[in-house]
Amino acid sequence: MSGRRLAMLVAVLAVAGAVAWSALPRPETQTERVDRIASQLRCVVCQGLSVRDSPSETARQMRAVVSQRVGEGRTDRQIFDEFRDAYGDWIILSPPLLGWTGLIWLVPVAALLLGLLLAVRWIRAGPPPPKADPSPADLAMLRERAAREEALD
């Protein structure tokens, strides 16, 4: 293996390692947990802002409730359920995976996979790009283009 390839391999491994390391789960502080839950709840008086993001008085009160429940040691699920019971599904900004709303999680993934499948098939199909003997006219044109591109490349 050449030095260049070795260097590239090491660099790729380093990036992968750094990403993997930063993906390791870390213990969550209480504030972080409140923030995470608040970011999933809709501020009821705002236009689509979360309780974490909104500066409104209502959001502050909702945040206080979340903070209190976290302090009482409730689970995430219990807290979400409490809000859902009070306001309906509308209060959760990220729809559940189960049920009809699962569609909105499924469709993007399906669209991407289907698109990639079709694209890859289409890329592999077809003749390899033209490398046949060019005509003299083509040759002159290619030579001109090569000169032009080399001047810029």
Binding site: M8, G48, D53, D89, S94, V120, A147
Partner: protein, 669 residues
């Protein structure tokens, strides 16, 4: 004659002329009649002049506070400052449509006089389509659907004034017109594409002729989005710049598809592939601009019920449906003529990466569309209300955005028609090493989260590809023409603007990506209630609360907190405020921002003692690199401009080709 009479008459005069022009253009194509074309050309001038006159009348009415016009009464007040009075033209629906029609008329006149000279048949057909669109807009403006000159009855003594959010910041002068320009200019590529389908042309003439329109439209739309998020950051006072709000999504979707299109265009030009696909992308982009207008203007996203209350909603929806049905029908009808080679045949080629990139862009757009519309459909069909917000969009779109960042580094580094192993090694060594450096920088800066570190790695990867391309170009020009580096650099941008302007755009996107990743990952947020003289800390900064103050302005009352931000070599006064407008029930927050290249200190007055001014609750966000988001947006705009500028004619290289200097070969690695 009142302003209302003048404006309404101008629009009523423009309508028959537009209809005439449309008919004349159709006749000119069908009968190859030059006189009919001349007639259509002059019709576009008259339509532009009359719509211009209507805009003039509306501005006159606004500036003279003529409340006998309902639009003025609803969007203006005597105490509205002059600047915001002038830009109230786009504060409401009817005025926006007027502005839209003006831009469309301008683009149409351009096509009539310039476009038809180069491609008489194709451009004249496109002209008929564009005039048809003008007829549509003139129809809705001369009927109660969106008549900007509807009279107010009774005439109020004073108007309501613009929406408070729209008179809070000068950026409002820029954001809507940029978006409208972007939206409307994309009508031209669309009209040419449809014209090409109608005439049954198999070539890519429509695409080459409108390349610049597509690019300029894309650039303006992108700038409009960035300015909009800047406005959101500086005005809305929640400490963010993008909330995945339906209105934001409406602008983002056409931009995403147009970005895919700008790349796949090159595949058609180079390899005569993707013809049907490009037509589909143009139609999709244009349809999404109409959908965007529909979403923002019909109020459907706030509540399904507001949809039926305005006439504009159903009308725009019908227009959208007609466009989609006709376009798709035309494409299907012409499909046999568009037949092309059966595949790319080279997996490691630029065209292959562009196609994959296109798929990711389309998937990203489908996701935004679905997330935006699903709640509307769910409510309409089942009555159930549900929310799809930032957590959903972040989770789906961030991985897609990272994939695009990666492809942005790979695509331009691969040659057309396929790459050899040696080429791969030559092109990717430096960028891959840079990626490792990027990951190291992220970790050294203490940034957390896999996506953040990956963004840094990919951003450095792409930046290195751009630097490498410029370095090679400069070196080659130096060897070939003996130009010093600075001259060679300028010449690259001037003579090969399309390519190197594109690299500048990529660099701008890298800056934007870094700004977003860093500000999302490392924002510090603190909230505290302070008494006068008290202080709080947020990261390295101390924020001292001086006092609460009142200020009365003609159009609003303000309560603001005098704060001093110190620390990190900064000492700055900021004044987060709450503004009270007579026409708004809630106070409008207005943040106090101490911007800086490293980070912004963003302060919000959340609450205060209404009785004795003895306390105030202050929220402070320390947001790193936010300024670079706007700067990156500016770089993207500059890159688009470089790519769109006409390039100087090349001297014919053929004569010199035989005597290609040997150094040029040597300059290559």
């Amino acid at each position: 004659m009142t302003w209302a009479d003048l404006g309404a008459s101008a629009l009523r005069a423009a309508l028959p002329i537009a209809i005439w022009g449309c008919g004349a253009a159709v006749y000119a194509v069908a009968r190859r009649d030059g006189r009919a074309l001349a007639s259509a050309r002059w019709a576009t001038v008259l339509v532009l002049a009359f719509i211009g006159l209507a805009v003039f009348a509306m501005e006159g009415a606004l500036l003279s506070h003529d409340f006998s016009i309902l639009y003025v009464a609803q969007n203006n007040a005597r105490e509205t400052p002059l600047f915001f009075t002038a830009i109230s033209l786009w504060a409401g629906l009817a005025g926006s449509i007027l502005l839209w029609a003006l831009v469309l008329a301008g683009a149409t006149a351009y096509v009539a006089w310039r476009g038809t000279r180069d491609l008489p048949r194709l451009a004249t057909t496109a002209l008929a389509i564009l005039l048809g669109m003008s007829v549509f807009f003139l129809l809705i403006m001369t009927t109660p659907v969106a008549d900007p000159f509807t009279r107010a009855d009774p005439v109020p003594a004073n108007g309501l004034g613009p929406n408070p959010l729209l008179q809070n910041h000068p950026l409002m002068a820029l954001h809507p017109p940029l978006l409208y320009l972007g939206y409307v200019l994309f009508s031209v590529p669309f009209a040419y594409a449809i014209a090409s389908l109608i005439l049954g042309e198999a070539g890519d003439r429509w695409l080459v002729a409108t390349r610049r329109f597509a690019l300029v439209s894309w650039g303006l739309l992108g700038l409009g989005i960035v300015v909009g998020s800047w406005w959101s950051y500086a005005v809305l006072g929640w400490g963010g710049y993008w909330a995945w709000d339906p209105v934001e999504n409406a602008a983002l979707m056409p931009w995403l598809v147009a970005t895919a299109y700008l790349h796949s265009v090159m595949v058609e030009e180079k390899r005569r592939l993707l013809r049907t696909w490009n037509l589909a992308l143009v139609v999709a982009t244009f349809a999404l601009t109409i959908l965007g207008t529909f979403l923002t203007r019909s109020g459907v996203v706030n509540s399904v019920h507001s949809f039926t209350q305005s006439a504009i909603g159903p009308v725009l929806l019908g227009y959208l449906a007609a466009i989609v049905v006709l376009s798709v029908g035309l494409i299907l009808w012409r499909m046999p003529r568009l037949a092309e080679a059966e595949g790319i045949g080279a997996p490691l080629s630029r065209e292959a990466i562009f196609l994959v990139q296109n798929v990711v862009f389309v998937a990203a757009t489908v996701t935004v569309l679905l997330g935006t519309l699903y709640p509307v459909f769910a409510e309409a069909l089942t009555g159930a209300q549900l929310s799809i917000g930032r957590p959903y969009f972040d989770r789906v779109e961030v991985p897609l955005a990272l994939a695009l960042l990666f492809l942005m580094g790979v695509g331009p580094q691969l040659p057309w028609h396929g790459a050899s192993r040696a080429t791969l090694e030559r092109q990717f060594t430096a960028p891959i090493l840079a990626a490792a450096a990027g990951a190291a920088v992220a970790l050294a800066a203490g940034l957390d989260g896999a996506f953040t570190v990956l963004t840094y790695a990919l951003a450095f990867f792409v930046a290195a590809t751009v630097v490498q391309e410029f370095a090679r170009g400069v070196r080659a020009r130096g060897t070939l023409h003996g130009e010093p580096p600075a001259v060679a650099f300028v010449n690259l941008l001037r003579r090969s603007g399309r390519r190197y302007g594109g690299y500048v755009v990529h660099l701008g996107i890298v800056v934007v990506a870094l700004a977003i990743a860093t500000s999302q990952a490392a924002t510090i947020q603190v909230e505290q209630t302070l008494s006068p003289g008290g202080s709080m800390t947020a990261g390295p900064y101390t924020i001292t609360f001086g006092a609460l103050r009142d200020a009365a302005e003609p159009q609003r009352d303000l309560v603001y907190a005098d704060l001093t931000v110190t620390g990190n070599g900064v000492q700055e006064n900021v004044r987060p405020a709450l503004a009270f407008y007579p026409n708004a029930t809630q106070a409008i927050g207005s943040p106090g921002i101490a911007p800086g290249p490293r980070e912004d200190v963003y302060t919000i007055l959340s609450a205060y003692d209404t009785r004795g001014s003895s306390w105030a609750t202050i929220r402070v966000l320390v947001m790193p690199l936010v300024s670079w988001l706007w700067i990156g947006g500016g770089i993207v705009g500059i890159g688009a401009l470089i790519a769109a500028l006409p390039q100087p004619k090349r001297r014919p290289v053929a004569q010199r080709a035989g005597a290609l200097p040997a150094e040029a070969e040597g300059a290559r690695m």
